[in-house]
Symmetry: C2
Subunit: 253 residues, 2 copies
């Protein structure tokens, strides 16, 4: 995008005559992501980021108008890892399944980014969001519309699907405690701290909580959500069945 027109050099002059690689927005975002991955969102400050890149912190404002926009950029960077396979690769519900798994993996790979992932869209209205964050939305809408969902139905389906995905990831990251050795005891002790009168069920679930299997729970949730979407599609298709059959290749669980 901003190609700093007029300077074709790949290196920049320094006072001492030394040269250093020229910085790009991508470099900045990658460094920011690294900081967040390492120590959490709060650990990211313009100054620290500048130090990590060995640049003046003020320099960074060339690549992001504000810290907020920089955070949006990090979200965009992470979301760019989520590519939606084409429908060629399988049935539509299968595509959604694999996309969901991919999304989960990304979230687990960058747990500290998840708060940003779910929170930034609240601060940035859809129309002003970085393009990269809209690409999965478009791809999924296209997928859904392609198999016969009406525009409205596709949008609703997307919302249900993506909302479920966000909810699942939030749930799973909550369970994940950092020190797996102490988890068991700490959890039990923590739960037993609760008044037995008020929290009998929760206390009795300590054993269940420590054997959480996120991957399987995702699948179970997908069963429910995709099953529901499948039924909604059927309903849509049957109400408008006077129109000739679309190009949709259907079939579900």
């Amino acid at each position: 995008m901003a190609g700093t027109p007029g300077s074709d050099d790949v290196e920049a002059r320094r006072p001492g005559g030394a040269r250093r690689p020229v910085l790009t927005r991508h470099d900045v975002l990658v460094a920011a992501l690294r900081l967040i991955d390492a120590d959490g969102v709060d650990a990211l400050s313009m100054r620290r980021l500048g130090r990590a890149l060995d640049r003046d912190p003020m320099r960074l404002y060339r690549f992001a108008a504000s810290k907020e926009e920089l955070l949006d950029g990090v979200v965009e960077l992470v979301l760019s890892e989520l590519e939606i396979p084409s429908r060629r690769a399988g049935d539509w519900d299968d595509v959604l399944r694999r996309t969901a798994r991919r999304f989960r993996q990304i979230a687990l790979a960058h747990p500290h980014v998840v708060p940003l992932l779910v929170t930034r869209p609240l601060a940035t209205p859809l129309a002003l969001r970085p393009i990269g964050t809209l690409r999965p939305l478009e791809a999924l809408l296209d997928l859904l519309a392609g198999v016969g969902f009406s525009p409205r139905g596709a949008l609703h389906a997307y919302r249900l699907y993506m909302g479920f995905l966000q909810g699942h990831v939030l749930n799973e990251l909550q369970e994940r405690v950092h020190d797996p050795d102490e988890t068991d005891d700490l959890l039990r002790l923590g739960l037993h701290r609760l008044p037995a009168r008020e929290f009998p069920r929760l206390r009795s679930l300590a054993g269940e909580l420590v054997v959480y299997d996120g991957a399987q729970e995702l699948e179970e949730g997908l069963d429910v959500v995709l099953g529901g979407l499948c039924r909604q599609l059927d309903a849509e298709l049957s109400t408008t069945r006077n129109r000739s059959g679309r190009n949709g290749v259907r079939g579900g669980p």
Copy 2:
């Protein structure tokens, strides 16, 4: 809770002889919530909160060990508004439905708290969370177990349900732009800024996006989720049908 033992006065002395009402943790949390509701999470600072209460900011650390704990307290306060009706009041899926509506209303009433609502649990492991935030969890687990879910099934059902709710609320708040007059044009313009090549579907959905109806979408999502849970319960009950029928009163959509 902390009743400041030893001082029965409801007023505190001031250097000038003036008296002022004694502060409670609840007062502090309410004031914090007010600040957040008015201007967002970032607008809450210990200093501003102190000013709002006309106290020394350091005083506040009597009621919360740190700002983080104060935020957890705000979440607890907001979540305390969510009471789960007893099953007497209807069938279990009906209870979940009404609880979901209530949750949505609370989120809409405190939109700026939602980031905290979904984010704080990531920072605070379950065992260390404020008791108030665990109460809905216990109540729902009790409800689910009461109608025949196994412990594991109840936990999974809770996660799916609550994850969906969080996802829905996040979705809905994203659509909600602050100035409803400009929403339409701004959104259209914003969408038309996107390259027509890459975003045909999204661009064509502008009209659909402006007529978002959160309440109805919640119901549709609930249809899917509760339907799925209902089926899961059936499956659970039929695999363990050798045991005599529990006290569960069943029946679904």
